[in-house]
């Protein structure tokens, strides 16, 4: 026997007994369950609220931007590894400044700048006769550049800012998915034969290598966001930067260092 709706669609049919007495009984049971549930909710709600209140002071606030490590604040330095440096808008940016600084005595200037960088919580990453590369917390970059300008003559100055938010988010996403993939593969070991186990192991090795690579890229990106880089050259980078350009004013074509030295 098939039961049909008024539109002619087939529907499942119960026994005639269930059709008459069962709905009323089911309704009663439902009402009882609903009232029990309401009582339970009302009873537990204040307790949950109290728990929330009690737990509130334990919620850890995100580290403030000023928690970037400085020599005066060694505790901040410890936590600073994890604390990236999002700016006021929450974005992570890298800052890199390049300067050509002319000084009479590069050795003295180099020592002075290294000392100042240390005072600002930074450190040198490259020390050469003709150049010095320093890393400082991003918020100290302006102070360091101003100090550099006081040391001699700044011939060229560039500042590059790159937004790393997207790159870091992408790498974090990749890392998460690879880790999930790895844990899923681990679960397959139990029910697999030797050949399958070998294949799983091979895949896992590849994924582990990829995870390490992503971790490395992430570390680099986070480091770039955490430290501003100042590249100070005491000499021009390009040794042959002069190109002959003809001037419509004849005498100007005779003004050049080479001509001066030849004719002296």
């Amino acid at each position: 026997m098939r039961c049909m709706t008024k539109h002619g669609n087939p529907v499942g049919c119960g026994s005639p007994h269930r059709r008459s007495g069962a709905p009323r009984r089911t309704l009663h049971r439902g009402l009882i369950l609903l009232s029990l549930l309401s009582v339970f909710i009302l009873w537990t709600a204040p307790a949950a609220g109290q728990q929330k209140k009690a737990a509130k002071p334990q919620i850890q606030q995100p580290a403030p931007i000023s928690a970037v490590p400085t020599p005066e604040d060694p505790d901040a330095a410890k936590g600073g590894e994890e604390a990236a440096t999002p700016d006021a808008t929450g974005r992570r940016t890298s800052l890199e400044s390049r300067l050509i600084l002319k000084v009479i005595n590069p050795d003295d200037a180099r020592a002075t700048l290294e000392k100042k960088a240390a005072e600002l919580g930074g450190f040198p990453i490259l020390v050469e006769d003709a150049s010095l590369v320093l890393k400082v917390p991003p918020e100290k970059l302006s102070a360091l550049i101003a100090f550099i300008a006081e040391q001699g003559l700044v011939l060229e100055k560039t500042l590059e800012r790159a937004d790393l938010t997207q790159e870091i988010a992408r790498l974090e996403g990749q890392l998460k998915s690879k880790k999930e993939m790895l844990s899923r593969l681990r679960g397959f070991f139990d029910d697999s034969n030797t050949e399958a186990t070998l294949r799983i192991e091979q895949t896992m090795t590849t994924i582990v290598a990829e995870i390490e690579q992503i971790k490395g890229q992430l570390r680099v990106a986070e480091d770039r966001a955490k430290w501003a880089v100042v590249d100070i050259a005491f000499q021009f980078h390009e040794r042959d930067r002069i190109v002959y350009v003809s001037s419509p004013f004849e005498w100007l074509n005779s003004v050049s260092l080479d001509r001066f030295l030849e004719e002296f």
Partner: protein
């Protein structure tokens, strides 16, 4: 005899002109302490013990223009060639009230970075250039005395 007279005059005038051109350059400047002048030279040249050089020369003021125009044109031309201007140009009046402007440029030369300083005087149909050059570290040591000396420079003796 009568024919040879104009020839003799011409020769004498030419000789006088040649002698005049062989004479000392028509410039004067108080001696900067670290510099020595090439006394015997027909050119106005000075040098320090460590090789910072100074020289004056003349070029035509053509098309005729004022000091500001030429200093601006020179700065633009030098920067277009790859020189880096060292600070702002410095315009001043000499001790005798003549107007001049100095612009300094830097460039790599060999293993060192050099300074080329150009001080421009506009004297009627001529532009007088006082040029100085030297490696930055050595130039910086004599820069002040050089500036003071150039302020006493006179294009016409």
């Amino acid at each position: 005899m009568a024919r040879s007279f104009p020839i003799a005059v011409t020769v004498l005038v030419a000789a006088a002109a040649a002698l005049a051109s062989c004479g000392p350059p028509p410039y004067s400047m108080s001696s900067p302490a670290s510099f020595k002048r090439f006394e015997e030279s027909r050119e106005f040249k000075w040098i320090t013990a460590d090789g910072v050089m100074l020289k004056a020369r003349e070029v035509d003021n053509y098309p005729e223009a004022a000091l500001d125009f030429w200093v601006d044109a020179m700065s633009r031309h030098m920067i277009a060639q790859g020189y880096v201007q060292k600070g702002e140009q410095r315009c001043f009046d000499t001790k005798r009230g003549r107007k001049a402007c100095t612009a300094e440029f830097m460039l790599p030369h060999g293993a060192e970075d050099w300074v080329l300083s150009e001080t421009v005087f506009v004297v009627e149909d001529d532009i007088v250039l006082v040029e100085a050059a030297g490696p930055y570290e050595r130039y910086a040591l004599v820069e002040t005395e050089l500036q003071k000396a150039v302020e006493t420079f006179e294009p016409r003796d």
